[in-house]
Symmetry: D3
Subunit: 235 residues, 6 copies
């Protein structure tokens, strides 16, 4: 296998990405029709960070971080570096030195479907990271891979220039050409959620607010007092 | 499959439950004869919270949170909502809006053998949650399930009205009819632990305190100096 | 199966161990030629702790902590207790009372390839722990095992007296007879890392600093503008 | 923890159990309303075996098979031995010698939520086994457990005397008091399946046979030619 | 979420697909530059089957097989049905009745990133299946999904009309527009493998045949007699 | 990291190894005091094969099989090749061509803590393999590793020249210097098992044969009729 380093991909509008970042991963995921989540396997190494940026992608061989070095050069202000491997790997492909180089270039954070290390230093320098593992296990720089080709993480495609959002709920990817439509959809969803929050604080039930009593009836779900239930179970 | 919503189950005494909550999950689990632990897969999304309450149970289809809506209506002050799915699911079935509705009803927290989302908001509002995953992945409201039927999580039965306790060590369930006996057993275990703590602080060994030297001898465990061990290994 | 309790193993120099602890797990692991990591499965129950010490090892039967009691007696100032089981086990083999006894003896922390409990109390008393799980599930004291025999955790050998270092990146073991050589290697690696950090802060690229442009060329990795890439993909 | 050995539990009718066994695990599971499956983790060690019997249950400590010895004495003709452990264990708790003893007593097979060994001998002697693992790892006989108490495997309760059915699709448990109702339901389901099979062989579609075209419409699922789809994607 | 059913996608040439199928999954994967493998999680339910066909894809909600019904109608001679779910699911989404309908339409087999059931019947009728699990757990038909949209399985994209090949080594997907180039590459790789096989049968070493002695030297790998190694280890 | 290729290690007596192979993995594991099992993760790709041989070890980088090429040259008649990786890897590191080369040299089989491919060809040529996975995913030949250094698989040490035995129950390793003692122990265990088999066929119970009734009494296990149990549960 050899590889490609693709330069100058088109990118989602940073202004739009910034709006999406304030709305949060869960809301944006819903606004896209429940798509784009990179799964529950990518967890933040810090609490409370919430970022958005445009993806620069790196595809590495397991246990090998050569292509992250190549990817750094393709990164600029507003980007988020997204790394995956050709086979599952939990080794520590990324650490403090990479973060130092990326911060110099204005990169907003890292999403890596593999391991990271130096996590205390990463937290101390305030460089946000979402990863599949924390591992001290080091890597070689021996095998070709690619930069800025489409990646797949947990069943979702991430292409260079796509919007990548990450917070305590995980990571979501919005395809470049859907970013502006998603901004509108996510805003209107956030408004609906605000209204529901107010209603729930006042004691309304989701059963009534979302018309779910009818759904339960249609599905044949039955209400039963505990006494009736006990009686029915014992016969 | 259709479902049942059972109303008005008998509940463990909240006064007893509150005593158990102060004693902690590990102590209560020991006091029950090492039973009732819901396993190491359910982890808190916050640090330091410790709750106890009476279980309201919801059994959902994977990727579907319809029955949580139905369960909310069955919840009241002192309850803990306990959710599981008919097949393993790590999707985010529960979020901030549900917590808002539950808090209005006096519910003390959530135990869910599936995923949650909006975890930052949940932490900020102080609604304690123990879950199998954090996931932005949303769900539908399309399939029947049940409320207040017995659930099984990691090999332990949770029935509506049972006492459910949760802290940084995980979650334990005490069957409704064993709660008052468990209060006495847990109190006396906590006293024994306090005495042992004092003895260990003073330098006593568990080998002596629990009579384990005899156990080692009976089992044929042998003491050997490092030199003898090396010699024996090399022949 | 019966067991052995080996007494008085030779130990790595604590002065050397203390130097390694300040250099950190990832740096020491690299300095050893990328060896000794106990894997990404052992995670700290606290944030920010970093310890080093000499290993006292305990090999237990799954669900049984008898041999930890025997191991406590073999522990002294500067030691780290390292526990594993003969088959994988996530039960809570270790808790606050053991920590109390170990602290009395000057032990610096615990590394356990199984579960722990009382984690809130352990955090409150400042006893650092790295474990494979947190679990309230208690254990018996019924089956023989060994103390101060070589253990294997995630493919790495830990012998009594070896240096064990742990921080937020995980745990690394340095064989007793390699400790002093590792001190020199780790120091010189830390110096190189400091120089690289400075260079990266000034904007140098790893591609240039480590001569990786040549590697990419040798491997046949090709640079391509996005437009060329698109064109090539569509044919 | 100490234990109980419960003797003489009531049992499901073997005549009914034998009928269920001929209908197969998947059909019986559907007939119960999609309940009772012991999950995809229990796999047969042989191909093509299909058994049914009444459960004798054994609850063991991980790595300890003492209670299987106690359970053997409680087993008789038509029984299936069902074994689980208090914490997950993949050790080889069961082997050829146990199977020899069970066959002498007329036992029909083993379902074990742990490991087995001697699998070649077990296949050769025709003793059918469904297990969570195959493992040469041996066990001790040191810790108390229970016989003929309710067990939970993968979220389902198995009580002594319940009907247990196992084939290449896995294992299903039918509660003793639902066996006769399940026989009728399963028979009528098998008839429906036979009719559907015939219809499908003749080319009918499930969309038509089950009225699912309406479901798709209600859910808003849209048909689109590939050309339209391509056009829509590119804008 | 709602869904799409895309009709009439272009398909890879069946003649080419048939050639690839005879060359085998591993060879085709290598010929594509080590791409396209759907991972080690998809295993055959039978031994020795080897198929190739053009993909019809179905994306289902976990625990819901509604969209497989919709997909059947889109299937024709030479197709392979490829199914995945929006979140991981191991339920039995597919069984004998579906296979009956698909065989009627000339479909060559099933690749499913979820569970199947009726596996004995599937083997008996000779309908080949590769799946992530075997599970008796049944499903509902309640939630929208899509047919003939791109799917991702274990990090690889499968688009409708792509060539899908499966044998005892697993499953590989060849993008529609690369099928004919892959035929040539795979044929020439198969010839090289045949030559290597002959050489290895005659005793040649891979070290010599592939010029790897030089690689070892360049990497600094050192040859050492066991005596020298022992001596070096002991100092 | 660079590597070592150690030549000419001393080997266990093949005559002894052949005796152990006839006694089987489970019996030998027991005879060693329940040690040496390489865990339930290594499964045979064929049914019914049982081999024994002397270990030649290869330690590879994940996704890289360079060192298997180096190991082939170190293999001779009676050897078993044992492969592991520095980090977990399920890629297909080994296939038919390697088996062809090994068979030419008189090697008896492969044990690999990673993936294999060409499994149908391997079965057809009768080359026995135990592996952690089957995967079509190919590998590079780019990174240094070692041959004939000690490996650890699932917590057990395998050194070059050790006896490695494998059958349908998995794989066990007997340290070179314990082989002859293990032959005697395993033979006498096999005799005891034969006597027990005969006794169990005649209806004797393990409870009586192994004196376990006393153990149950000592542990406080209580016998209870089902009626008494029901009564006790309901109060």
């Amino acid at each position: 296998m050899t590889g490609l380093i693709v330069t100058g991909p088109p990118k989602a509008s940073l202004a739009d990405v910034d709006v999406l970042a304030t709305l949060g991963v869960a809301t944006v995921h819903e606004a896209m029709g429940r798509k784009g989540s990179l799964g529950c396997g990518l967890r933040p190494i810090q609490l409370g960070a919430a970022i958005g940026g445009t993806a620069v992608t790196a595809l590495c061989w397991p246990g090998d971080n050569l292509m992250i070095h190549a990817a750094v050069e393709q990164c600029g202000p507003g980007d988020v570096l997204v790394v995956s491997t050709t086979s599952p790997s939990r080794d520590g492909l990324f650490g403090e030195l990479f973060a130092t180089a990326l911060r110099h270039r204005g990169v907003r954070g890292l999403v890596i479907n593999a391991g990271v290390r130096d996590v205390r230093a990463l937290r101390d320098m305030g460089f946000p990271v979402w990863s599949a593992a924390v591992s001290a296990q080091g890597t070689v720089k021996a095998t070709a891979g690619s930069v800025n080709v489409p990646l797949v993480i947990e069943g979702e495609l991430v292409r260079p220039g796509d919007a990548v959002l990450a917070d305590d709920d995980g990571v979501v990817c919005v395809p470049r050409d859907q970013v502006s439509a998603t901004v509108s959809a996510a805003k209107s969803r956030a408004e609906k959620e605000a209204a529901s929050r107010e209603a729930f604080e006042a004691g309304e039930l989701g059963l009534d607010r979302y018309g779910l009593r009818q759904t339960l009836t249609t599905l044949g779900v039955e209400y039963l007092s505990f006494e009736e239930y006990e009686k029915r179970s014992s016969t």
